[in-house]
Amino acid sequence: MTAQPIIQVKDLHKWYSGVHALKGVTLDFHPNETVGLVGDNGAGKSTLINILSGIQAPSGGGITFEGRPVSFKGPRDAMEAGIETIYQYNSMVPTMSIARNMFIGREPLRWGIGGIGVLDTKKMAEESVRAIADVDLHLRSPDALVGELSGGQRQGVAIARAMHFKSKVMILDEPTNHLAVKETQKVLGFVQSLKGLGITGIFISHNIHHVFECCDRMVAMARGEVVLDKRVEDTNMDEILDVL
Protein backbone atom coordinates (compact mmCIF):
# COMPACT_ATOMS: atom_id res chain seq x y z
CA MET A 1 0.00 0.00 0.00
CA THR A 2 1.58 3.22 -1.08
CA ALA A 3 -1.49 5.43 -0.97
CA GLN A 4 -2.02 7.51 2.13
CA PRO A 5 -4.33 5.78 4.59
CA ILE A 6 -7.79 7.34 4.78
CA ILE A 7 -7.97 6.71 8.51
CA GLN A 8 -5.00 6.31 10.83
CA VAL A 9 -5.64 5.23 14.39
CA LYS A 10 -2.65 5.87 16.64
CA ASP A 11 -2.19 4.38 20.09
CA LEU A 12 -5.87 4.74 20.94
CA HIS A 13 -6.92 4.15 24.54
CA LYS A 14 -10.34 4.06 26.11
CA TRP A 15 -11.15 3.71 29.78
CA TYR A 16 -14.64 3.17 31.09
CA SER A 17 -14.34 3.94 34.79
CA GLY A 18 -12.03 1.05 35.66
CA VAL A 19 -12.33 -0.97 32.45
CA HIS A 20 -9.46 -0.54 30.00
CA ALA A 21 -11.46 -1.27 26.85
CA LEU A 22 -8.85 -0.14 24.29
CA LYS A 23 -5.20 -0.61 25.16
CA GLY A 24 -3.25 1.30 22.56
CA VAL A 25 -4.81 0.38 19.25
CA THR A 26 -2.84 1.40 16.17
CA LEU A 27 -4.42 0.66 12.83
CA ASP A 28 -4.54 2.08 9.28
CA PHE A 29 -7.47 1.89 6.90
CA HIS A 30 -6.66 2.40 3.25
CA PRO A 31 -8.88 3.95 0.61
CA ASN A 32 -11.11 1.55 -1.23
CA GLU A 33 -10.34 -1.37 1.01
CA THR A 34 -12.79 -3.50 2.94
CA VAL A 35 -11.51 -4.48 6.37
CA GLY A 36 -13.11 -7.12 8.52
CA LEU A 37 -12.90 -6.58 12.25
CA VAL A 38 -13.42 -9.69 14.33
CA GLY A 39 -13.13 -10.60 17.98
CA ASP A 40 -15.01 -12.02 20.90
CA ASN A 41 -17.67 -10.13 22.77
CA GLY A 42 -16.01 -7.44 24.84
CA ALA A 43 -12.89 -7.31 22.67
CA GLY A 44 -13.38 -3.58 22.11
CA LYS A 45 -14.65 -3.55 18.51
CA SER A 46 -17.70 -1.42 19.23
CA THR A 47 -15.67 0.93 21.37
CA LEU A 48 -13.22 1.46 18.53
CA ILE A 49 -15.90 2.20 15.98
CA ASN A 50 -17.86 4.37 18.40
CA ILE A 51 -14.78 6.55 18.62
CA LEU A 52 -14.36 6.57 14.84
CA SER A 53 -18.00 7.58 14.41
CA GLY A 54 -17.87 10.34 17.00
CA ILE A 55 -20.19 8.74 19.53
CA GLN A 56 -17.49 8.43 22.18
CA ALA A 57 -14.31 10.35 22.85
CA PRO A 58 -11.01 8.50 23.25
CA SER A 59 -9.17 8.63 26.59
CA GLY A 60 -5.82 8.81 24.81
CA GLY A 61 -4.21 8.60 21.38
CA GLY A 62 -5.48 10.11 18.17
CA ILE A 63 -7.09 9.69 14.79
CA THR A 64 -6.20 11.22 11.47
CA PHE A 65 -8.66 11.34 8.61
CA GLU A 66 -7.22 11.87 5.11
CA GLY A 67 -3.99 12.89 6.75
CA ARG A 68 -5.45 15.52 9.08
CA PRO A 69 -5.78 14.96 12.82
CA VAL A 70 -9.46 15.01 13.78
CA SER A 71 -11.36 14.91 17.02
CA PHE A 72 -15.05 14.35 16.46
CA LYS A 73 -17.30 16.08 18.98
CA GLY A 74 -20.34 14.04 17.98
CA PRO A 75 -21.73 11.77 15.27
CA ARG A 76 -22.50 14.80 13.13
CA ASP A 77 -18.81 15.69 12.85
CA ALA A 78 -17.94 12.19 11.70
CA MET A 79 -20.83 12.14 9.23
CA GLU A 80 -19.78 15.48 7.81
CA ALA A 81 -16.24 14.19 7.36
CA GLY A 82 -17.69 11.26 5.40
CA ILE A 83 -17.85 8.43 7.93
CA GLU A 84 -21.22 6.70 8.07
CA THR A 85 -21.97 4.00 10.58
CA ILE A 86 -24.60 1.29 10.37
CA TYR A 87 -25.50 -0.49 13.56
CA GLN A 88 -27.24 -3.72 14.26
CA TYR A 89 -30.34 -1.96 15.62
CA ASN A 90 -29.51 1.62 16.16
CA SER A 91 -29.78 3.44 12.90
CA MET A 92 -33.51 3.51 12.06
CA VAL A 93 -36.61 4.73 13.86
CA PRO A 94 -39.27 2.04 13.31
CA THR A 95 -42.22 4.39 13.88
CA MET A 96 -41.14 6.69 11.06
CA SER A 97 -41.36 6.35 7.31
CA ILE A 98 -38.50 5.33 5.05
CA ALA A 99 -38.26 8.82 3.55
CA ARG A 100 -38.11 10.44 6.98
CA ASN A 101 -35.52 7.95 8.20
CA MET A 102 -33.33 8.56 5.16
CA PHE A 103 -32.89 12.18 6.16
CA ILE A 104 -32.96 12.18 9.97
CA GLY A 105 -30.72 14.98 11.11
CA ARG A 106 -29.95 16.03 7.52
CA GLU A 107 -33.38 17.03 6.28
CA PRO A 108 -33.55 19.12 3.09
CA LEU A 109 -35.39 22.34 3.90
CA ARG A 110 -37.49 24.54 1.69
CA TRP A 111 -36.61 27.41 3.94
CA GLY A 112 -35.50 27.85 7.50
CA ILE A 113 -34.05 30.11 10.14
CA GLY A 114 -31.17 29.10 12.35
CA GLY A 115 -31.18 25.52 11.16
CA ILE A 116 -34.89 24.93 11.83
CA GLY A 117 -37.26 25.06 8.89
CA VAL A 118 -39.86 23.54 6.64
CA LEU A 119 -39.10 20.11 5.19
CA ASP A 120 -38.84 19.65 1.47
CA THR A 121 -40.96 16.49 1.56
CA LYS A 122 -41.10 16.16 -2.22
CA LYS A 123 -37.33 16.08 -2.47
CA MET A 124 -37.18 13.64 0.44
CA ALA A 125 -39.60 11.24 -1.26
CA GLU A 126 -37.90 11.44 -4.67
CA GLU A 127 -34.37 11.11 -3.40
CA SER A 128 -35.18 8.24 -1.08
CA VAL A 129 -36.82 6.32 -3.92
CA ARG A 130 -33.71 6.86 -6.03
CA ALA A 131 -31.30 6.01 -3.23
CA ILE A 132 -33.11 2.78 -2.45
CA ALA A 133 -33.19 1.75 -6.09
CA ASP A 134 -29.46 2.50 -6.32
CA VAL A 135 -28.67 -0.22 -3.80
CA ASP A 136 -30.87 -2.61 -5.75
CA LEU A 137 -33.53 -2.71 -3.07
CA HIS A 138 -37.07 -2.53 -4.33
CA LEU A 139 -39.61 -0.98 -2.02
CA ARG A 140 -43.10 0.08 -2.96
CA SER A 141 -43.38 3.36 -1.19
CA PRO A 142 -41.07 5.74 0.65
CA ASP A 143 -43.98 6.35 3.03
CA ALA A 144 -44.00 2.84 4.44
CA LEU A 145 -42.94 2.65 8.05
CA VAL A 146 -39.50 1.23 8.66
CA GLY A 147 -41.10 -0.95 11.37
CA GLU A 148 -42.87 -2.86 8.59
CA LEU A 149 -39.65 -3.81 6.83
CA SER A 150 -37.70 -6.99 7.39
CA GLY A 151 -34.35 -6.78 9.12
CA GLY A 152 -32.49 -7.11 5.83
CA GLN A 153 -34.58 -4.43 4.15
CA ARG A 154 -33.86 -2.10 7.06
CA GLN A 155 -30.14 -2.62 6.69
CA GLY A 156 -30.61 -2.02 2.98
CA VAL A 157 -32.24 1.34 3.70
CA ALA A 158 -29.47 2.23 6.15
CA ILE A 159 -26.90 1.41 3.48
CA ALA A 160 -28.84 3.39 0.89
CA ARG A 161 -28.79 6.33 3.25
CA ALA A 162 -25.04 6.10 3.73
CA MET A 163 -24.53 5.91 -0.03
CA HIS A 164 -26.86 8.82 -0.64
CA PHE A 165 -24.79 11.04 1.60
CA LYS A 166 -21.65 10.07 -0.32
CA SER A 167 -19.80 8.54 2.54
CA LYS A 168 -16.10 7.83 2.07
CA VAL A 169 -15.94 5.29 4.86
CA MET A 170 -18.77 3.00 5.80
CA ILE A 171 -18.63 1.20 9.13
CA LEU A 172 -21.00 -1.70 9.68
CA ASP A 173 -21.19 -2.97 13.27
CA GLU A 174 -22.57 -6.50 13.24
CA PRO A 175 -25.17 -5.67 10.58
CA THR A 176 -26.03 -9.31 10.02
CA ASN A 177 -27.00 -10.27 13.57
CA HIS A 178 -30.50 -11.68 13.77
CA LEU A 179 -30.93 -11.80 10.01
CA ALA A 180 -32.18 -14.80 8.11
CA VAL A 181 -29.65 -16.57 5.86
CA LYS A 182 -30.98 -15.04 2.66
CA GLU A 183 -30.98 -11.56 4.09
CA THR A 184 -27.49 -12.03 5.47
CA GLN A 185 -26.31 -12.89 1.97
CA LYS A 186 -27.89 -9.72 0.70
CA VAL A 187 -26.11 -7.56 3.29
CA LEU A 188 -22.81 -9.33 2.53
CA GLY A 189 -23.47 -8.49 -1.10
CA PHE A 190 -23.78 -4.83 -0.18
CA VAL A 191 -20.48 -4.99 1.67
CA GLN A 192 -18.80 -6.56 -1.36
CA SER A 193 -20.19 -3.85 -3.60
CA LEU A 194 -18.55 -1.07 -1.56
CA LYS A 195 -15.20 -1.58 -3.30
CA GLY A 196 -16.71 -0.98 -6.69
CA LEU A 197 -18.15 2.28 -5.42
CA GLY A 198 -14.83 3.50 -4.08
CA ILE A 199 -15.95 3.36 -0.47
CA THR A 200 -13.73 2.13 2.33
CA GLY A 201 -15.57 -0.48 4.37
CA ILE A 202 -15.09 -1.55 7.96
CA PHE A 203 -17.15 -4.63 8.61
CA ILE A 204 -17.56 -5.96 12.12
CA SER A 205 -18.81 -9.44 12.63
CA HIS A 206 -18.31 -12.31 14.98
CA ASN A 207 -18.86 -14.66 12.09
CA ILE A 208 -15.42 -15.15 10.60
CA HIS A 209 -16.81 -16.91 7.52
CA HIS A 210 -18.68 -13.76 6.61
CA VAL A 211 -15.54 -11.69 6.87
CA PHE A 212 -13.59 -14.07 4.64
CA GLU A 213 -16.42 -13.87 2.16
CA CYS A 214 -16.45 -10.11 1.67
CA CYS A 215 -13.27 -8.46 3.00
CA ASP A 216 -9.76 -7.78 1.74
CA ARG A 217 -8.08 -7.62 5.09
CA MET A 218 -8.64 -9.20 8.45
CA VAL A 219 -8.08 -7.44 11.77
CA ALA A 220 -8.62 -9.43 14.93
CA MET A 221 -9.00 -7.85 18.34
CA ALA A 222 -8.85 -9.43 21.76
CA ARG A 223 -8.98 -7.80 25.18
CA GLY A 224 -8.64 -4.29 23.79
CA GLU A 225 -5.68 -4.97 21.50
CA VAL A 226 -5.11 -5.79 17.86
CA VAL A 227 -3.80 -9.32 17.80
CA LEU A 228 -3.72 -10.00 14.08
CA ASP A 229 -3.71 -7.83 10.98
CA LYS A 230 -3.29 -9.63 7.65
CA ARG A 231 -4.68 -9.76 4.17
CA VAL A 232 -7.30 -12.48 3.94
CA GLU A 233 -5.27 -14.51 1.46
CA ASP A 234 -2.37 -14.62 3.92
CA THR A 235 -4.31 -16.08 6.79
CA ASN A 236 -6.87 -18.72 7.56
CA MET A 237 -9.59 -19.72 9.93
CA ASP A 238 -7.36 -21.67 12.28
CA GLU A 239 -4.84 -18.90 12.71
CA ILE A 240 -7.58 -16.45 13.62
CA LEU A 241 -9.32 -18.76 16.05
CA ASP A 242 -5.93 -19.31 17.59
CA VAL A 243 -5.27 -15.65 18.39
CA LEU A 244 -8.73 -14.79 19.65
Binding site: I55, S91, V93, T95, L109, G117, L139, L149
Partner: protein, 328 residues
Amino acid sequence: MKRFLKTYLEKPELAGVAFLVLLTIAFQIRSGGVFLNAANLQGILGLLPEVALVAIGVTLLMICGEFDLSVGSVFALTPMSMAVLLEAGWPFVPAIAVGLCVAMAIGFVNGVLTVKFAIPSFITTLGMLFVARSITVVISGGFPPLLPTGAIPKWLFVTYVGPGDMFRVSFLWFVAIAIGVSLLLSRTNFGNWVRATGGFLPAAESMGIPTKRVKIACFMLCSLLAGFAGTLQVMRLGAPLPSIGEGLELQAVAAAVIGGTALTGGIGTILGGIIGATLIRVIDNGLVLSQVDANWFKMALGALTVFAVILNAWLRKKAKSIKVETGK
Protein backbone atom coordinates in the same frame (compact mmCIF):
# COMPACT_ATOMS: atom_id res chain seq x y z
CA MET B 1 -57.81 0.12 -1.82
CA LYS B 2 -56.17 -2.11 0.78
CA ARG B 3 -53.38 0.38 1.16
CA PHE B 4 -55.96 3.12 1.63
CA LEU B 5 -57.84 1.19 4.30
CA LYS B 6 -54.62 0.33 6.04
CA THR B 7 -53.51 3.94 6.08
CA TYR B 8 -56.77 4.94 7.74
CA LEU B 9 -56.80 2.16 10.28
CA GLU B 10 -53.28 3.17 11.21
CA LYS B 11 -54.27 6.75 11.99
CA PRO B 12 -53.75 6.99 15.74
CA GLU B 13 -56.62 9.42 16.25
CA LEU B 14 -59.22 7.14 14.66
CA ALA B 15 -60.54 5.64 17.91
CA GLY B 16 -60.96 9.12 19.39
CA VAL B 17 -62.90 10.33 16.36
CA ALA B 18 -65.17 7.28 16.54
CA PHE B 19 -65.93 7.93 20.22
CA LEU B 20 -66.50 11.61 19.58
CA VAL B 21 -69.09 10.90 16.89
CA LEU B 22 -70.83 8.24 18.99
CA LEU B 23 -70.98 10.36 22.11
CA THR B 24 -72.20 13.42 20.24
CA ILE B 25 -75.06 11.40 18.79
CA ALA B 26 -75.85 9.83 22.16
CA PHE B 27 -75.87 13.13 24.03
CA GLN B 28 -77.86 14.84 21.31
CA ILE B 29 -80.57 12.22 21.67
CA ARG B 30 -80.44 12.01 25.48
CA SER B 31 -80.63 15.76 25.89
CA GLY B 32 -83.52 16.11 23.46
CA GLY B 33 -81.54 18.18 20.99
CA VAL B 34 -80.08 20.62 23.49
CA PHE B 35 -76.53 19.32 23.20
CA LEU B 36 -75.81 20.72 19.75
CA ASN B 37 -77.78 23.94 20.11
CA ALA B 38 -75.99 27.27 19.91
CA ALA B 39 -75.97 28.09 23.61
CA ASN B 40 -74.50 24.77 24.60
CA LEU B 41 -71.89 24.74 21.85
CA GLN B 42 -70.93 28.18 23.02
CA GLY B 43 -70.36 26.72 26.49
CA ILE B 44 -68.25 23.85 25.16
CA LEU B 45 -66.17 25.96 22.79
CA GLY B 46 -65.65 28.65 25.45
CA LEU B 47 -63.94 26.23 27.83
CA LEU B 48 -62.29 23.92 25.31
CA PRO B 49 -59.18 26.03 24.62
CA GLU B 50 -58.04 25.82 28.23
CA VAL B 51 -57.88 22.01 28.40
CA ALA B 52 -56.94 21.60 24.76
CA LEU B 53 -53.89 23.87 24.92
CA VAL B 54 -52.57 21.85 27.85
CA ALA B 55 -53.28 18.66 25.92
CA ILE B 56 -51.38 19.94 22.87
CA GLY B 57 -48.26 20.52 24.92
CA VAL B 58 -48.52 17.23 26.77
CA THR B 59 -49.09 15.37 23.49
CA LEU B 60 -46.03 16.93 21.88
CA LEU B 61 -43.92 16.04 24.91
CA MET B 62 -45.23 12.48 25.00
CA ILE B 63 -44.40 12.04 21.30
CA CYS B 64 -40.90 13.17 22.27
CA GLY B 65 -40.88 10.35 24.83
CA GLU B 66 -41.35 12.33 28.06
CA PHE B 67 -44.09 13.19 30.55
CA ASP B 68 -45.08 16.35 32.33
CA LEU B 69 -47.12 16.00 35.49
CA SER B 70 -46.49 19.59 36.51
CA VAL B 71 -48.74 21.22 33.89
CA GLY B 72 -51.64 21.60 36.32
CA SER B 73 -49.45 23.52 38.74
CA VAL B 74 -47.93 25.65 35.98
CA PHE B 75 -51.50 26.33 34.87
CA ALA B 76 -52.03 28.02 38.27
CA LEU B 77 -48.58 29.53 38.87
CA THR B 78 -48.34 31.43 35.57
CA PRO B 79 -51.49 33.56 36.00
CA MET B 80 -50.77 33.93 39.71
CA SER B 81 -47.37 35.44 38.91
CA MET B 82 -49.05 37.75 36.44
CA ALA B 83 -51.78 38.74 38.93
CA VAL B 84 -49.33 39.49 41.71
CA LEU B 85 -47.40 41.80 39.37
CA LEU B 86 -50.60 43.47 38.13
CA GLU B 87 -51.62 44.08 41.70
CA ALA B 88 -48.24 45.65 42.33
CA GLY B 89 -49.06 48.10 39.56
CA TRP B 90 -47.20 46.55 36.63
CA PRO B 91 -48.76 47.08 33.19
CA PHE B 92 -50.35 44.08 31.49
CA VAL B 93 -47.74 43.25 28.84
CA PRO B 94 -44.70 42.89 31.11
CA ALA B 95 -46.81 41.12 33.71
CA ILE B 96 -48.05 38.42 31.33
CA ALA B 97 -44.59 38.18 29.78
CA VAL B 98 -43.06 37.46 33.18
CA GLY B 99 -45.80 34.91 33.87
CA LEU B 100 -45.07 33.07 30.62
CA CYS B 101 -41.32 33.24 31.28
CA VAL B 102 -41.93 31.61 34.65
CA ALA B 103 -43.75 28.82 32.82
CA MET B 104 -40.90 28.36 30.36
CA ALA B 105 -38.36 28.44 33.17
CA ILE B 106 -40.20 25.60 34.88
CA GLY B 107 -40.21 23.63 31.64
CA PHE B 108 -36.49 24.31 31.31
CA VAL B 109 -35.80 23.04 34.82
CA ASN B 110 -37.95 19.95 34.20
CA GLY B 111 -36.05 19.27 30.98
CA VAL B 112 -32.56 19.88 32.29
CA LEU B 113 -33.11 17.76 35.40
CA THR B 114 -34.53 14.96 33.27
CA VAL B 115 -31.83 14.85 30.60
CA LYS B 116 -28.77 15.75 32.66
CA PHE B 117 -29.44 13.30 35.45
CA ALA B 118 -31.11 10.74 33.20
CA ILE B 119 -34.04 10.29 35.55
CA PRO B 120 -37.59 9.57 34.39
CA SER B 121 -39.54 12.75 33.71
CA PHE B 122 -42.38 11.13 35.61
CA ILE B 123 -40.31 11.77 38.74
CA THR B 124 -38.87 15.20 37.95
CA THR B 125 -42.24 16.61 36.97
CA LEU B 126 -44.00 14.93 39.89
CA GLY B 127 -41.61 16.86 42.11
CA MET B 128 -42.31 20.01 40.12
CA LEU B 129 -46.05 19.45 40.51
CA PHE B 130 -45.66 20.01 44.27
CA VAL B 131 -43.01 22.71 44.04
CA ALA B 132 -44.90 24.89 41.56
CA ARG B 133 -48.20 24.49 43.40
CA SER B 134 -46.50 25.44 46.63
CA ILE B 135 -44.96 28.55 45.10
CA THR B 136 -48.38 29.50 43.72
CA VAL B 137 -49.99 29.39 47.15
CA VAL B 138 -47.08 31.20 48.77
CA ILE B 139 -46.98 34.11 46.32
CA SER B 140 -50.77 34.45 46.46
CA GLY B 141 -50.28 35.28 50.13
CA GLY B 142 -53.03 32.93 51.20
CA PHE B 143 -55.86 34.78 49.55
CA PRO B 144 -55.93 35.51 45.84
CA PRO B 145 -55.23 38.99 44.54
CA LEU B 146 -58.03 40.47 42.50
CA LEU B 147 -57.22 41.35 38.92
CA PRO B 148 -57.37 45.15 38.82
CA THR B 149 -60.35 46.14 36.67
CA GLY B 150 -59.33 47.45 33.29
CA ALA B 151 -55.82 46.04 33.60
CA ILE B 152 -56.50 43.26 31.15
CA PRO B 153 -57.31 43.60 27.46
CA LYS B 154 -60.26 41.20 27.63
CA TRP B 155 -61.11 41.80 23.99
CA LEU B 156 -57.82 40.16 23.07
CA PHE B 157 -58.47 36.97 25.03
CA VAL B 158 -61.88 36.21 26.42
CA THR B 159 -64.72 38.24 24.91
CA TYR B 160 -67.19 36.43 22.69
CA VAL B 161 -66.79 36.78 18.95
CA GLY B 162 -67.92 35.04 15.80
CA PRO B 163 -71.35 34.45 14.35
CA GLY B 164 -73.90 34.49 17.17
CA ASP B 165 -71.04 34.96 19.63
CA MET B 166 -70.23 31.33 19.07
CA PHE B 167 -66.83 31.35 20.71
CA ARG B 168 -64.42 33.41 22.74
CA VAL B 169 -61.28 35.01 21.35
CA SER B 170 -59.38 32.38 23.30
CA PHE B 171 -60.72 29.86 20.77
CA LEU B 172 -58.93 31.71 17.97
CA TRP B 173 -55.71 31.63 19.97
CA PHE B 174 -56.21 27.93 20.43
CA VAL B 175 -56.84 27.29 16.73
CA ALA B 176 -53.79 29.29 15.71
CA ILE B 177 -51.56 27.56 18.25
CA ALA B 178 -52.95 24.14 17.35
CA ILE B 179 -52.19 24.69 13.67
CA GLY B 180 -48.76 26.08 14.51
CA VAL B 181 -47.73 23.16 16.70
CA SER B 182 -49.19 20.61 14.26
CA LEU B 183 -47.15 22.09 11.44
CA LEU B 184 -44.08 22.25 13.65
CA LEU B 185 -44.43 18.54 14.33
CA SER B 186 -45.36 17.35 10.85
CA ARG B 187 -43.64 19.73 8.46
CA THR B 188 -40.37 20.85 10.00
CA ASN B 189 -37.07 19.20 10.67
CA PHE B 190 -37.56 19.95 14.35
CA GLY B 191 -40.74 17.84 14.25
CA ASN B 192 -38.76 15.05 12.62
CA TRP B 193 -36.25 15.20 15.47
CA VAL B 194 -39.03 15.14 18.07
CA ARG B 195 -40.51 12.01 16.55
CA ALA B 196 -37.14 10.35 16.15
CA THR B 197 -36.12 11.20 19.71
CA GLY B 198 -39.32 9.71 21.10
CA GLY B 199 -39.50 6.88 18.57
CA PHE B 200 -36.07 5.40 19.10
CA LEU B 201 -33.57 7.40 21.09
CA PRO B 202 -30.38 5.46 20.14
CA ALA B 203 -31.10 5.98 16.43
CA ALA B 204 -31.75 9.66 16.90
CA GLU B 205 -28.51 10.02 18.84
CA SER B 206 -26.42 8.07 16.38
CA MET B 207 -27.75 10.25 13.57
CA GLY B 208 -26.45 13.28 15.42
CA ILE B 209 -29.75 14.81 16.53
CA PRO B 210 -29.28 17.01 19.61
CA THR B 211 -31.80 14.89 21.51
CA LYS B 212 -31.20 16.58 24.86
CA ARG B 213 -31.92 20.00 23.46
CA VAL B 214 -34.93 18.69 21.56
CA LYS B 215 -36.36 17.30 24.78
CA ILE B 216 -35.68 20.45 26.75
CA ALA B 217 -37.38 22.50 24.02
CA CYS B 218 -40.44 20.24 24.19
CA PHE B 219 -40.59 20.55 27.98
CA MET B 220 -40.45 24.32 27.65
CA LEU B 221 -43.12 24.45 24.98
CA CYS B 222 -45.37 22.15 27.02
CA SER B 223 -45.00 24.35 30.10
CA LEU B 224 -45.52 27.52 28.11
CA LEU B 225 -48.80 26.22 26.67
CA ALA B 226 -50.02 25.12 30.12
CA GLY B 227 -49.16 28.53 31.54
CA PHE B 228 -50.92 30.32 28.70
CA ALA B 229 -53.99 28.10 29.12
CA GLY B 230 -54.12 28.91 32.84
CA THR B 231 -53.79 32.60 32.04
CA LEU B 232 -56.77 32.33 29.69
CA GLN B 233 -58.82 30.68 32.41
CA VAL B 234 -57.95 33.33 34.97
CA MET B 235 -58.82 36.11 32.54
CA ARG B 236 -62.15 34.39 31.92
CA LEU B 237 -62.88 34.00 35.64
CA GLY B 238 -61.49 37.39 36.63
CA ALA B 239 -59.55 36.10 39.61
CA PRO B 240 -56.54 33.82 40.02
CA LEU B 241 -57.33 30.98 42.41
CA PRO B 242 -54.27 29.08 43.64
CA SER B 243 -56.12 25.79 43.24
CA ILE B 244 -57.00 25.93 39.54
CA GLY B 245 -55.69 23.18 37.31
CA GLU B 246 -55.58 20.51 40.00
CA GLY B 247 -55.90 17.14 38.32
CA LEU B 248 -55.41 18.72 34.91
CA GLU B 249 -52.13 16.89 34.32
CA LEU B 250 -53.88 13.54 34.28
CA GLN B 251 -56.74 14.84 32.15
CA ALA B 252 -54.17 16.04 29.64
CA VAL B 253 -52.43 12.68 29.60
CA ALA B 254 -55.84 11.04 29.18
CA ALA B 255 -56.60 13.38 26.27
CA ALA B 256 -53.31 12.52 24.58
CA VAL B 257 -53.80 8.81 25.09
CA ILE B 258 -57.44 8.85 23.94
CA GLY B 259 -56.17 10.65 20.85
CA GLY B 260 -53.77 7.82 20.09
CA THR B 261 -50.49 9.01 21.58
CA ALA B 262 -48.36 6.10 22.72
CA LEU B 263 -46.91 6.20 26.24
CA THR B 264 -43.67 4.87 24.80
CA GLY B 265 -43.15 7.89 22.56
CA GLY B 266 -42.81 8.38 18.83
CA ILE B 267 -46.47 7.81 17.99
CA GLY B 268 -49.27 10.36 18.09
CA THR B 269 -50.57 13.56 16.56
CA ILE B 270 -51.49 16.99 17.86
CA LEU B 271 -54.94 16.57 16.31
CA GLY B 272 -55.36 13.39 18.35
CA GLY B 273 -54.63 15.26 21.58
CA ILE B 274 -57.16 17.92 20.64
CA ILE B 275 -59.77 15.29 19.85
CA GLY B 276 -59.07 13.71 23.23
CA ALA B 277 -59.47 17.05 24.99
CA THR B 278 -62.70 17.72 23.07
CA LEU B 279 -64.03 14.34 24.15
CA ILE B 280 -63.32 15.19 27.77
CA ARG B 281 -65.19 18.49 27.43
CA VAL B 282 -68.04 16.76 25.61
CA ILE B 283 -68.43 14.13 28.33
CA ASP B 284 -68.32 16.74 31.08
CA ASN B 285 -70.93 18.85 29.36
CA GLY B 286 -73.06 15.99 28.06
CA LEU B 287 -73.39 14.35 31.46
CA VAL B 288 -74.62 17.60 32.96
CA LEU B 289 -77.13 18.07 30.15
CA SER B 290 -78.37 14.51 30.46
CA GLN B 291 -78.92 15.26 34.14
CA VAL B 292 -76.61 12.50 35.19
CA ASP B 293 -74.97 12.89 38.60
CA ALA B 294 -71.80 14.91 37.88
CA ASN B 295 -69.79 12.50 39.95
CA TRP B 296 -69.96 10.03 37.10
CA PHE B 297 -67.64 12.27 35.10
CA LYS B 298 -64.42 10.67 36.32
CA MET B 299 -65.89 7.23 35.85
CA ALA B 300 -66.74 8.05 32.24
CA LEU B 301 -63.34 9.60 31.62
CA GLY B 302 -61.57 6.60 33.08
CA ALA B 303 -63.59 4.10 31.10
CA LEU B 304 -63.13 6.10 27.91
CA THR B 305 -59.36 6.27 28.35
CA VAL B 306 -59.04 2.53 28.73
CA PHE B 307 -61.47 1.71 25.93
CA ALA B 308 -59.87 4.16 23.54
CA VAL B 309 -56.49 2.54 24.05
CA ILE B 310 -57.93 -0.93 23.62
CA LEU B 311 -59.76 0.11 20.47
CA ASN B 312 -56.64 1.78 19.13
CA ALA B 313 -54.51 -1.28 19.77
CA TRP B 314 -57.13 -3.42 18.05
CA LEU B 315 -57.32 -1.10 15.03
CA ARG B 316 -53.58 -1.11 14.69
CA LYS B 317 -53.47 -4.86 14.81
CA LYS B 318 -56.14 -4.99 12.12
CA ALA B 319 -54.12 -2.57 10.04
CA LYS B 320 -51.02 -4.69 10.44
CA SER B 321 -52.86 -7.79 9.36
CA ILE B 322 -53.84 -6.12 6.10
CA LYS B 323 -50.91 -7.26 4.04
CA VAL B 324 -49.61 -4.82 1.53
CA GLU B 325 -46.39 -5.65 -0.18
CA THR B 326 -43.43 -3.66 1.05
CA GLY B 327 -41.25 -4.94 -1.73
CA LYS B 328 -42.17 -5.62 -5.33
